[in-house]
């Protein structure tokens, strides 16, 4: 197991899993914020923020996690009322219609919350909805290894991803 950290996010990556913590270059002066990808399969080179390009190639026994940070102005809004990242998801939280892009046999879930004063969206995909009872505990194990530190004042600023 390796530990990676960047942009105020630390993550324990189990053996055999792949992960990235990245921040896209600002476009047209708009601020960007960190994105986390965590997968039990090889991550392709160019994956969209919410997994486009990765969800399509994952296997039935794989899970994929996105942690997407929003601008600090989102804190306090109704959508981000939840405090703390959900770390004990249930199989019933996953539904095929919750996928951002429908892929046959898969299912997903999405949560909005504030962790360490930073607003995030957690988006998780199971490779097989039928195997959710087996895959969700594995996914929860991955979530347990993610730690978020408060954003340093210098990175606070306006703009959306």
């Amino acid at each position: 197991m390796g530990v990676i950290r960047s942009h105020g996010i630390e993550m324990a990556v189990p053996a055999g899993c792949e992960a990235r913590i990245f921040r896209r270059p600002p476009v047209a002066g708009a601020a960007t914020y960190p994105v986390v990808h965590l997968a039990t399969f090889p991550l392709p080179g160019d994956v969209g923020d919410f997994g486009n390009g990765a969800v399509q190639v994952m296997g039935g026994n794989d899970v994929f996690v996105v942690l997407f940070e929003y601008g600090p102005e989102s804190v306090g809004q109704a959508l981000f009322a939840r405090q703390g990242m959900p770390r004990a998801l249930a199989p019933s939280d996953f539904q095929p219609y919750r996928l951002r892009q429908g892929v046959g046999g898969r299912s997903g879930t999405q949560w909005f919350f504030v962790e360490a004063g930073r607003p995030f969206s957690l988006y998780a995909v199971l490779g097989s909805h039928a195997r959710r009872a087996t895959l969700v505990p594995r996914l929860n194990g991955l979530l347990a290894g993610i730690a978020v530190q408060p954003a340093p004042p210098a990175t606070l600023g306006g703009g959306w991803n």
Binding site: I4, G16, P42
Partner: protein, 281 residues
């Protein structure tokens, strides 16, 4: 006048003694190196009888930098590090597809050719099913801006000192080919040209035990082996014995002149240099 002549003669005599002493000291050092097995050239001349060096010579490894393990591991640990841009990345080695790890530095001259060659040739020369990852030392030992300028975003770059430790990288440019089905190294070694790297990949993949994805190459990386097919699946000591037997079968035993090359060209076969490379890194 006479006094001046005496002084000059005395000075010349003193210098002669000093030069003689230096030459003698130099000869003693060379002789000692020969006796220790670290000399270059014909080792047949034995030390003089009665000298402290007349005891039987025993091989002493000559190494530069930290000593490497006697038998290198074949494991291929996952990579964890940062990108030159400051993002974090973790890559798994046992995910099915083979991975070619190129351990490069920003400062070595030979690496310069690889930075540009791998970036431009990745899509056309390397096998399509092979993932290429350039691994530099971490930001504490490498300059991220320098690495970023060299990488030009063309290849995946992971900055990780721990990867250099895990893979026992003795220097750069160094390459390791990982079998993605077993997370095991099936080939590794130094290379001075992209052609050597491509040869390493092709050779190691051919030498897999039982076909693709099932074993470890027995052929040293970067060196073609025109002889009989290599025996694969051997442990370290078994491989060493196998090498000895093959050398003996070829008439190369202890003391054979080919084991004592006089110059570097006797060891390295001529290769096509990478464009831009001008020396060893």
């Amino acid at each position: 006048m006479v006094a001046l002549m005496v002084v000059v003669v005395a000075a010349v005599a003193l210098l002669g003694v000093l030069v003689t002493g230096l030459l003698r000291s130099h000869a003693d050092i060379l002789s000692a190196l020969h006796a220790l097995g670290a000399g270059v050239g014909d080792p047949s001349r034995e030390p003089e009888a009665g000298s402290p060096l007349s005891t039987p010579a025993r091989p002493v490894p000559v190494s530069f930098g930290p000593p490497l393990p006697a038998e290198r591991s074949s494991t291929a640990p996952d990579l964890a590090g940062v990108t030159p841009g400051g993002d974090a990345v973790a890559l798994a080695m046992g995910t099915g597809a083979d991975t070619l790890l190129a351990f490069l530095s920003s400062g070595c001259t030979t690496c310069e050719g690889f930075w540009s060659a791998l970036g431009s040739a990745h899509g056309s020369l390397l096998p399509a099913d092979l993932r290429l990852v350039v691994v530099t030392k971490g930001p504490e030992l490498e300059s991220p801006p320098a690495v970023r300028a060299l990488a030009k975003g063309a290849v995946e770059v992971v900055m990780s000192t721990s990867a250099w430790v895990d893979y026992e990288v003795p220097g750069s440019p160094f390459f390791a080919l990982v079998d993605g089905t077993r997370a095991a190294r099936i080939g590794e070694g130094f290379a001075g040209s992209l052609e050597q790297v491509l040869g390493l990949v092709a050779q190691a993949r051919r030498d897999r035990v039982g076909g693709p994805g099932s074993g470890r190459a027995a052929t040293p990386a970067g060196r073609g082996s025109p002889g009989p097919p290599a025996v694969t699946g051997l442990t370290g000591p078994e491989r060493e014995r196998d090498n000895d037997e093959r050398l003996l079968a070829a008439g190369i035993g202890p003391g054979h002149p080919s084991l004592y090359p006089a110059k570097l060209g006797d060891v390295l076969a001529p290769t096509v240099p990478v464009a831009g490379a001008s020396g060893e890194g």
